[in-house]
Symmetry: C2
């Protein structure tokens, strides 16, 4: 089913909020066989919302809107929808009950603003929102479905999961778009293209290939459309397997796998534990690792040694080494890895020391110079990376490189 | 100047990539006085890109496109633009020189795919891209300007800063949109609305107010449009000051201030140092703190004590305390804060212990229960929070709450 997403809110157009809602919805819709044809962000202005609706309904059969359903005066979507679908607001008892019990559960008083959220357009199908106060609103017109949802992510997610996805499952035409994504690390987009050129040339015409570069990782996405999902998936999997063998040094995973989850799984299988000692990444790697549910079974902890004294006193890096080689060196980063491994009594340890920038660079060690070490049962290895000028990007790339090195050690 | 952004790429429509480019651009455009009327994400398909161009040019005078200029076969924007502007590709020597020196600097060989990036539409104004290989391309038609940029964030950013912003400064009509944002913490949107209702009612009609809730933080944005920026900013600042005094317990900053940067500045002014001891936040707080350039002057390091043994052995939390009260308790979190403060010899320390989820909850301590402690020169305080069910959201909210508590201690 052709679908469009209209994201309503000035905050999107002035860049104050990043449109993560639309991306999340797109993933779910795609999985349910819907094709998202366009995502449009428009202002909190009645005429802009109406124009976006008119344009979207010309192209799509399912029109999803988020935003502007909140309790405050700047939330105008409900009024716009009343005008667009020629209806008016009426009090809905079930919604009022939900709102009342929502505030009771939280032990908070009920304001008039919240009570008014139980006013809904008479022509609307009201969609329960047990995790918030604004209900979802759906409208039918000319065999198309329009769904308005709150912009609060977990409220929107609830409505997508309980209303939109079941609707698609019931009314979809059966045609599906399937994807298979090959995840690579340690090689740039154009070098990858050269390496796999023959494979690309031999790819069946029904399969579409896209390159998706991000800091430290290039993803290769294969897509196919049709109504025989099993055969389609078989074709995609075969091509993905073929591709894997062409780039054994760079391939590390498939689809939505995360390096930190994969490494966690590998540690789990070995019943091995992990710690980190981080200087320039400042806790980013520990944060990535602990973002995985269940990571407490293999992750013991970290020493964030931002200050050199912490490297000396907690991690046992001797002063002489710091003086002779500097904190950003193979010698120091290896000692950091071994230090935290001993201190927290883990089987493996990652250490990172580098110059994230914008300051601290020298001609010999410019901003972006990062040393990564991995200590394991069979010893310690370290590697130097030269990233770029941007602090944030350098932290992310260092994290990806460190997890990639740990993965290689776990595979070895 | 009315502007539209067209983000090109299937990855946006299947939700594989979040459109952070458009948000970043929107901020810069807004600052330069341009009004972003719509952001549209469309597919890597010629007819979709052409349709989006036709629609956008009816509404805007400046049309910005990102994506599809890379070296690989799925990058079709250049060909689409040739057809749209009725021109053809020619080799551009300056671009070829840039590409050649780009690869030389990186010590990488030059592939044919990269050489082909020097083919540009003859009718285009070629925009230098010293940080990448695909140049920006601008076209003029009916007094409108069209700019196509690579989708790689730092390449796009370079072209916005060196070409688009100067163009706006030269050709803008002088009308500006100014914003002032008041940052609050520790209070929900509807309660805030009730507290400030009288102030909202008395707000001049020229000022528009929007509520922007995010995990742990509600932002109140005031906007005004006109061509007398000094007077407009004075009006906004006066209203923002008035608002501050109405919510002294919840107000913590203005505009794009970040809690971690503000706390860092306050520590710098006191010449005080900071450390963290993190359990359920797993390094997230240290990562936030060290995302601030220059944070090494006040931030010494952390102990991420995911495992209870690390809490005991590194932070000196005695076993008995863990047994009697559990890791998620006032007693343990205070000891963690004091432990890391002593260990890393800092003036202040933050500690967090909680149940991020999805597992680990009990009837007495459900998922979302988080204790935060702040230890300082005058002692240690701790506070219990009850967040929600989502792991990621709980980690972020715990981080915001912890930085907020530290801020209050630094103010006291």
């Amino acid at each position: 089913m052709t679908t469009e997403i209209i994201s309503i809110g000035d905050e999107l157009l002035i860049g104050q909020v990043i449109n993560t809602n639309a991306s999340w919805m797109a993933v779910q819709l795609n999985d349910a066989g819907a094709e998202v044809r366009q995502i449009s962000c428009v202002s909190d202005a009645a005429d802009e919302i109406q124009r976006a609706l008119r344009e979207a309904e010309q192209r799509a059969d399912l029109i999803l809107m988020t935003g502007g359903l909140g309790p405050t005066h700047d939330d105008i979507t409900k009024d716009v929808l009343c005008r667009y679908f020629d209806t008016h607001l009426v009090m809905n008892d079930r919604v009022l009950e939900n709102i009342t019990s929502f505030f009771q559960r939280k032990g908070l008083p009920l304001t008039q603003l919240n009570k008014d959220q139980a006013l809904v357009p008479e022509a609307a199908i009201v969609i329960d929102n047990p995790v918030g106060t604004a209900p979802g609103l759906a409208f039918r017109k000319n065999e198309k479905l329009y769904v308005a949802m709150p912009g609060v992510p977990y409220e929107m997610k609830h409505i997508i999961q309980t209303f939109v996805i079941p609707y698609l499952q019931k009314n979809g035409k059966g045609e599906k778009i399937l994807h298979k994504t090959i995840l690579t690390q340690g090689i740039g987009e154009s070098f990858l293209a050269v390496k796999i050129a023959d494979w690309v040339a031999a790819l069946p015409s029904t399969i579409k290939l896209a390159y998706l570069p991000s800091p430290g990782i290039v993803r290769l996405r294969l897509s196919i459309r049709g109504n025989q999902p099993e055969e389609m998936m078989k074709l995609l999997s075969e091509e993905a397997e073929r591709l894997k063998t062409l780039i054994p040094d760079f391939f590390w995973g498939m689809d939505n796998e995360k390096l930190e989850a994969q490494v966690g799984k590998m540690l789990g299988e070995k019943s091995a534990s992990l710690s980190t000692a981080e200087s320039c990444t400042g806790g980013y790697i520990a944060h990535k690792i602990t973002s995985v549910p269940g990571s407490s079974t293999y992750f013991k902890g970290s020493v964030i040694a931002y200050d050199n004294r912490v490297k000396e006193e907690q991690l046992g890096v001797c002063k002489q080494l710091l003086q002779d080689f500097g904190a950003v060196s193979s010698e120091v980063v290896e000692k950091m890895a071994e230090g935290v491994k001993n201190l927290l009594k883990t089987d493996y340890a990652i250490a990172v020391s580098g110059i994230a920038g914008p300051d601290g660079g020298t001609p010999e060690k410019p901003v972006g110079t990062v040393w990564v070490a991995v200590a394991g049962p069979d010893g310690t290895v370290s590697k130097k990376f030269l990233f770029g000028d941007e602090r944030e990007r350098n932290i992310v790339r260092a994290g990806t490189a460190a997890l990639g090195m740990l993965r290689n050690q776990l595979l070895a």
